[in-house]
Symmetry: C2
Subunit: 146 residues, 2 copies
DNA sequence: TATTGTTATACTCTATAACTATA
DNA sequence: TATAGTTATAGAGTATAACAATA
């Protein structure tokens, strides 16, 4: 692992810098898209998660990598706006499943469509370039579970 | 602009998904690196900014894309820890320049070095692949000012 | 006893509005 | 009057610790 060379390599440094810029831009646009639906970033992330699959509170916390106590408040606020519902799990009465309402699913779909930032510049790339980018990104992300 | 095709193109969708994963991972590791120095993410970002160049409070807010009133508190907390100092601008006595102390510069340097996430997977790429990635990312970021 | 979700508490970040001191 | 920085305030996210209900 000759890390020493790549650490100071100007090309690598520029790429790292660029990744930081992409992250900042993406994050910013995500918050803005959420705000356009009067949601905070955290609320939007939970709503997106639940639109894929209803989840127990504890699992939401694991996905978000935050403490379970935080999820209570976020889901409270989503529930107060009629976007999410809590239902008790019949098989384990300690567990509460959070699931999006019909309205919540619709909001999640509109939110997804409004995230054009990543899509727009990608449209300018050839299929071959997109495949290259995909392979590079796959290597950067590696395996994930949570 | 035939957006319609790329919008539903599975390859593009996968790349968008991957970018989201990279953003989440990067953000997470940034917060963690900051926490290892007992800093919040916002404090780490301001310290990094000032390590490049001392700035008036107002300019920090523009860079962070937040309200100037927030910067007061963030710099307060950095100053309380001896990482940053406020000095009045002689040419305009309304302006206060925030600059890192020697200790602040050292912390910023250690923070920079601990952000290995982006660098590590990059080390596995050839120089040609890194150039390709750089060019793709440049197109995604576009011009920036702030 | 261990686990799930919640509550209580304290801190930070955030935007808004009002204030002060300069310009 | 306009601008730079601050203060005051309120809402949201965060972690920690303690609690009730259930396993």
């Amino acid at each position: 692992m000759s890390m020493a060379t790549s650490r100071t390599d100007p090309l690598t440094l520029e790429v790292v810098e660029l990744i930081g810029s992409v992250v900042a831009r993406y994050y910013e646009e995500y918050e803005q898209a959420a705000a356009e639906h009067s949601l905070t970033g955290a609320q939007a992330r939970v709503l997106r998660l639940l639109s894929l699959e209803p989840l127990p509170m504890r699992r939401i916390a694991r996905k978000l990598k935050c403490e379970p106590s935080n999820v209570t408040g976020i889901v409270d606020r989503l529930e107060a706006r009629g976007l999410v519902e809590r239902t008790p799990d019949p098989s384990d009465r300690r567990v509460k499943l959070a699931a999006p309402t019909r309205s919540g699913l619709a909001t999640a779909a509109r939110l997804r469509d409004s995230l054009d930032f990543a899509r727009e510049p990608l449209a300018e790339l050839s299929a071959q370039e997109r495949r290259t980018l995909r392979d590079l990104l796959r290597r950067m992300v590696g395996d994930d579970d949570a």
